[in-house]
Subunit: 354 residues, 2 copies
């Protein structure tokens, strides 16, 4: 029981699935699985032996995946919660920590799913304005009684807060949960994970979608002290016992443990980002300082929506948000060097035409 | 807008993910995906080309999977909702249709996740007793103002309702949503799916976990008239944009379309079930008439918990529920013929020892 749990969580009696034993020598007639393998057509989609156990439920606790996450972050299994993408992890965190509490604070310009979750779970919200140069000012979050969500780096700005700013906020609000959404942290931002042992009001959410190239697999996780994780587990076990499937678990573990490849890809993206930002600056764009795998930029003399459309006509898809304060900006994901060369060539042409 | 939607659904403004274009000729810099493939170690878990697109998000609408479900059930894509296992589909259905309505009715002996969801989403419940011989009496559900859930066949009894009983109930409660949970329908029970075009208050939930041997993959679906499906979509898009991953979608489609294999496996399980039930009857067990891939049985002279433990000592795992009315029963999944022969041999020995 943690003081950060919502009333919903306190009263739950989660579903108890049938035992999933680790011994292979059992005749397992306890969870209504099918004794025959899936269709050969289904197995043909996969290779190797990965389909052989698909007839059986996954481990509802995802122990092997939690251990891989814990190992790569220097934490214990009891510090790890895993789910079907970080979007699901965030949704469950809203139910676990924010429902029925005071107004939730987050930046006025941020990931647009936060107000959606808030509405779904009846959470009042208090949007805290970014500064004029789109920075999070942590002192603005010192008042209030509900939780706080800060994406770090923020989206769609890409701007990061240093870890000591996060720590300053944690100290200022010891009775409020601070959820740091680190979906883009691996591209040069300082993670708050190392603060977890010292702050019981810190929950960090990460995903394999971006830095591990696994958006199509749907695996995300939360890290925090064991009481926070226990609250998430109670809600998850009252919602869906098995959110991470057998294949996703195996693929995710392999990706997590290949740290050298992960670092190499992140380094390449960071280098490409810096090159792209420099090119855009030369073309007259104002580019926010990004620590993410995207840049947020605007050109003082050209309409963003016009640029968006012109890029689209040339088969280049970027993102434009119809939202106050940022409707003159474009968010551009960092692709390969070749893709970014093509982008900057097209932008150079479009800026020149003006 | 449907009168069956909960107030939660009416007020939602779901999250809008970045466009996922179908053209392959685009430079896609709009959804912050990674331009590089996942780790070779991760791809080595899989075979063929299935890992090649894992760096990209799945289709948030799962159109190809919905089309496969629609095709195999003689419905339209607009009649289909898909999710991360039927447990997730049920959880989203609770939010969409049951939250904030009158007391939800379901049998006193049934799938034990229903009261858990009810608690999570604050839904009052009205447990309707099964008859003394464990049958659902649909006339007992005629009163009340909230929704109704009936698993058909029921679990853990395995007893099925004929389709015309379901239809009689649909007619009796035109203003209340009836959710028929058909997790086990493919083992000889009449499905309510063909009633969907005629009843706007019917939602049918099915899963690939049992009859398609894909418990480890996490794919379930709901079928109903388009307004019901639209309500589920609004909640899903406020919770998790991409619950079905790229691999799960492909494997599920292949399994759905291989109907011959599916029928063969179901037929084998039904034959094994009938053989097992006959053997157990000969040993003095009372076996409920099952239309599922499990049987529910008790021996008048032997304690169920004792049998459970003795089977466990012999490496056979079955399920026992510590619950009033059924604590003298065992639920036994139908395995292969060889497994069931081993089970009946052990049971014969245990009954003989008595």
């Amino acid at each position: 029981m943690s003081r950060f749990w919502s009333d919903i969580v306190r009263d739950l009696s989660p579903y108890v699935p049938g035992e999933q034993p680790s011994s292979a020598n059992l005749i397992k007639l306890n969870t209504n699985e099918n004794p025959y393998p899936p269709s050969p057509e289904a197995l043909a989609v996969l290779g190797g032996d990965v389909g052989a156990t698909l007839r059986l439920y996954p481990d509802p606790e995802s122990v092997a995946l939690k251990d891989a996450v814990a190992q790569t972050h220097g934490l214990d299994r009891s510090n790890v919660f895993v789910g079907n993408g970080s979007d699901e992890v965030l949704a469950l965190a809203f139910m676990t920590f924010f429902a029925g509490k005071g107004a939730l604070q987050f930046p006025d310009i941020t990931y647009s799913f936060y107000p959606v979750y808030s509405r779904l779970f009846g959470v009042a919200i208090d949007r805290v304005p970014l500064t004029d140069d789109f920075r999070v000012e942590v002192d603005s979050y010192g008042t209030g009684t509900g939780g706080i969500i800060l994406p770090n780096p923020n989206a769609p700005t890409g701007i990061a807060l240093p870890r000591d700013e996060i720590e300053r906020l944690l100290k200022a609000v010891p009775d409020r949960l601070l959820l740091v959404d680190e979906a883009y942290v691996d591209f040069g931002c300082e993670s708050a994970v190392e603060l977890i042992p010292r702050y019981e009001n810190l929950l960090v959410v990460q995903t394999l979608s971006k830095s591990h190239s696994l958006a199509g697999l749907r695996v995300g996780f939360a890290l925090g002290q064991p009481e926070l994780i226990a609250g998430l587990d109670r809600v998850k076990n009252s919602f869906n016992s098995y959110p991470v499937d057998r294949i996703a678990e195996r693929v995710a573990i392999a990706a997590l443990l290949d740290e050298a490849y992960f670092r190499t890809c992140c380094d390449k993206i960071v280098a490409t980002r810096e090159w792209t930002a420099a090119q855009l600056s030369e073309l007259g764009f104002e580019v926010l300082p990004s620590r993410a795998n995207f840049i947020f930029a605007h050109h003082p003399a050209i309409s963003a929506i016009r640029l968006f459309e012109q890029l689209r006509e040339r088969n280049i898809l970027v993102r434009h948000f119809e939202q106050k304060r940022i409707d003159r900006h474009l968010r551009i994901t960092i692709g390969t060097d070749a893709e970014m060369q093509q982008l900057t060539a097209v932008l150079s042409e479009l800026v020149g035409e003006r």
